[in-house]
Amino acid sequence: MAIAPHIRVENLDVRYGAVRALKGITADIPRKMISVIIGPSGCGKSTLLRTFNRLVETAGDARVSGRVLVDGADIFAPGTDVTAVRKRMGLLSQRPYPLPMSIFDNVAYGPRVHGVRDRRTLAAVVEGRLRQAGLWEEVRDRLHAPASRLSLGQQQRLCLARGLAVEPEIILGDEPTSALDPRSSQHIERIFMELKREYTIVLVTHILRQARRLADYVLFLYLGELVEHGPAREIFENPREEMTRDYIGGAIS
């Protein structure tokens, strides 16, 4: 790769109690591209994603060793401000979890916790991010309605707008379309294609066709190990490892 990677993972190990969920992962995540982590259920995809914003630590018994460098700085280094790390990344989870407040307050939540108080600034942020997430036209008349009244697809776009509002550099998506109907999924995918011009995007998916549609770069995990990673074209058309070939061909799942 010509440009320096945005995220570099070095010898990353994650254990939950006695279970070793990730085993010595070393990989680079390229900047301003869509990287997709594929692999069967339980292979550690989500765990890997959750190390990037240190959300892995919210599971009480997780122990992490190795390094994750974002722009060259180890986010697991002692003394690192976790909230500052997380502010640099937006997260979309499998199911959308809007916060228990209005649509407006959901998007304004991030800026507010980081100290933005000015009403006009907040209003501008909310409109801008809702537009970016393709939701503005649908909610502009009911910004103060509860977010929980939106459809699931709209909620997921709201969560995207909420994440974008803290001005991250990286967007993490943990199977972000798995709870959505096909049209909403398509909508989200289109937005990702737009967003990759400005953001580094890392997605976890178990849907191979989605990976083919979106990925510029692919990481294939199997039972906690990184089997292969590289540009999407290489992985899908000419994988080096037999296991990758089997997985892509549907022989293992």
Binding site: G60, Y97, P100, A147
Partner: protein, 283 residues
Amino acid sequence: MDRRRAEERLMVALMIGSAVVMLGTLCWILAVVLVKGLPAMRLSMLIRTPSGGFYLGREGGILNAIVGSLLVAGGATALAALVAVPVVVYINLYARPGSWIAVWTRFSFDVLWGVPSIVYGAFGFALMLRLGVRASLLGGILTVACLVLPIMCRAMDEVIRLVPGELADAAAALGATRLQTALGVVARQAMPGLVTAVLIAFGRGIGDAASVLFTAGFSDAVPTSLFRPAATLPLAIFFQLGTPFPEVQERAYASALILTAVILAVSAAARALAGRSARHIVR
């Protein structure tokens, strides 16, 4: 086939029967209190303190006990909430899941929850003797706070545990601190349940006689200071029922009616307040 249908019917009948017993008990209690209490109900009951000979059937009211009970139970509930909220937030959002402090704190709620209120009364009384404090509003508030604290903690713990972890993760992923997540997101999601927890505690506190018997004492005057004894409704009911005079015993039912009405009014007010936040809850 027939046997399975009969089984189904029998069980449904039992369930409906149980529901009727439950509801019937409530209606019965309310009916008794209303039928026996209404005839003795006078405006003077609400707005006057007992004058000489009130317990012999003469003039007066139980304003002293109404105010005393509201102060004791209100103060105790507020004090208990000041302790319960940090405890519950700590064991749910700060302590590692399964850590010894969370496990043992929960165990202590369960034990304390089962301790009879007279034991709290005796404990409070012993403590006050040692500190040289006499029966007073303050003593009552502190003792009742001890009584309702485990009830409140347990009820709050249950509702906070129901909040999905992903919701807290979502706030954390935006860079919120744990405190911001706890107070701004998790507590908001759990708000109706938290209000219920406070109400359960208040109801238990205002209705308890044994814990205030020695600690708050009793007085015919409305308490004017934390260090004066304070009358409470359960004790007022107890003293009135204990007299040999039928007209005073009737007033005991009128007092019970007032106690019930106070609890209903406080519940309704608190629910109305909480209802405003409930519309944003994520289901």
